[in-house]
């Protein structure tokens, strides 16, 4: 060993940077260390404000440092937490500053039985802490929704089923169908957009999806869907999957229905109930008006009794007496008028008689006429020798004029 001088040693030695660089390039080129899938338990999670996430993946025997850069960290559907079993995909690299191999993680997913529920719980807890599920936030459903929004897939039986229930229960409504994807990566955005399109246009909205696997229903656990429900302009009834399926959307909704058909029932009154309400009102109107009339009839009868019938009778008697008296005086007056009329008539008759020549004759005067029938009122109307007729009350005298003698002559 002494043949080598220290200086020679120093000359041949690699720098740390060269060594780590060699290590790094060996690792980076190694196919077994590129785009690997690693399964393990998360530990030592650290998330500085930069947005980069650091943790270790470990099993019983070993561990490896992991880094998750900002964009990948933001895309995670769950929160990194110690103890979670995950599968990570990424590339092994060496971090020069520490000379340590690490896994640069591109994507990480929880695994095992509890993997979905883990993410579910994390989202639920975070939104609950924000108050999105608070009972006081829940809006009551309108009793008579004029317009009903329906957010669901255009394919499948749900649309048909919900429309059938709505048509049977409450045909007075207008339904606005806002179609969306109900599974897959793009579903959360599609669902939120479909809800937003209905905003301000309906009195209630139904968000529905038929049954499916946990993965199929997963989009309804998305935070974006929950927020779209919460900001919706009207109450939302959620109905996702079967009765046993509970999603974040159900927590955010104002009312959760066990099935889509049940959602349609919860959102609407039943026309059969309405008909019986109308019938009840009709019957009530009839009996109440009868009661009202009866009440007033009784009131009138009671009032009538308080007026004392004898008093009425007395007044009627009195009135009748006055009527009779009035009738009597009327008769008297009529008689008086009649007899006065009669007296007046005989007076007139007397005056008429007084001017009749017949009455004058009756008193002893006579009327003289010529042969030609003309009355002789003057001595000059006749000449001596003329035949004249002298009319008296009971006959006529034929005479001849002997002499004319004028009065005063």
């Amino acid at each position: 060993m002494q043949t080598f001088g220290v200086a020679a040693l120093a000359r041949d030695a690699l720098t740390v940077t060269e060594l780590v660089g060699a290590l790094r390039s060996a690792v980076a080129r190694h196919p077994a260390l590129t785009d690997v899938l690693v399964r393990g338990e998360i530990g030592s999670v650290s998330r500085p404000p930069s947005g980069v996430a650091y943790f270790v993946l470990k099993d019983a025997e070993a561990q490896i440092a992991c880094v998750l850069f900002r964009s990948a960290a933001a895309a995670l559907r769950f929160e990194l937490r110690d103890g979670i079993e995950v599968v990570a995909r990424g590339d092994v690299d060496v971090f020069p500053a520490r000379g340590q191999a690490q896994l640069v993680v591109r994507d990480v997913s929880p695994i095992g039985h509890g993997a979905f529920w883990l993410s579910f719980e994390q989202v639920r807890d975070r939104l609950a802490a924000e108050g999105l599920f608070a009972p006081e936030r829940k809006r009551p459903l309108p009793a008579f929704p004029r317009r009903i929004g329906l957010v669901t897939s255009e394919a499948g039986a749900v649309l048909h089923d919900v429309l059938a229930v709505l048509g049977r229960r409450y045909p007075l409504a207008e339904v606005l169908v806002s179609p969306c994807l109900v599974q897959g990566e793009d579903a959360p955005v599609s669902i939120a957009a479909a809800l937003d399109r209905l905003a301000g246009r309906v009195d209630v909205a139904i968000l529905a999806r038929g049954g499916g696997s946990l993965e199929d229903l997963w989009c309804f656990n998305d935070e974006r869907v929950a927020r779209a429900i919460v900001r919706f302009s009207a109450p939302v009834v959620s109905a996702v999957g079967h009765e046993t399926d509970v999603t974040i959307a159900d927590f955010a909704a104002d009312v959760r229905a066990p099935t889509p058909s049940a959602a349609a029932e919860l959102a609407t009154p039943d026309v059969a109930d309405l008909k019986s309400r109308i019938e009840a009102a009709r019957a009530a109107l009839r009996s109440r008006v009868r009661e009202t009339i009866e009440a007033w009839r009784e009131a009138v009868a009671t009032l009538g009794a308080r007026i004392r019938p004898e008093a009425i009778r007395e007044r009627v008697q009195d009135a009748r007496g006055r009527l009779a008296a009035a009738g009597e005086s009327l008769r008297k007056e009529a008689r008086r008028l009649l007899s006065a009329g009669r007296d007046g008539l005989s007076g007139v008759a007397g005056r008429l008689e007084a001017v009749s020549p017949l009455a004058t004759i009756a008193r002893g005067f006579a009327v003289v006429t010529r042969e030609d029938g003309a009355l002789v009122a003057s001595v000059s109307a006749v000449s001596p020798g003329d035949e004249i007729t002298v009319h008296v009350s009971d006959g006529a005298l034929e005479a001849v004029v002997e002499e004319r003698r004028r009065n005063g002559a």
Binding site: L172, R197, A281, R288
Partner: protein
């Protein structure tokens, strides 16, 4: 009257029944309330008879 919606007619009808049931109306008001109620029953019946679910599809973006 003909422009009244079903729910308006039903609510009005039930308030007429209530008013009539309270029993402090004059006879004339009682009879008028009854007649108005009967007219509202007719409106409700007509609305239900002519009702038919309308479905409109909103197109996506």
């Amino acid at each position: 009257m003909t422009e009244k919606t079903f729910e308006e007619a039903l609510e009005e009808l039930e308030s007429k029944v209530e008013a009539l049931s309270a029993g402090h109306l004059s006879l004339a008001d009682g009879l008028r309330t009854y007649e108005e109620g009967v007219a509202l029953v007719r409106v409700c019946d007509e609305r239900l008879a002519e009702a038919e679910l309308t479905v409109t599809r909103l197109s996506g973006e």
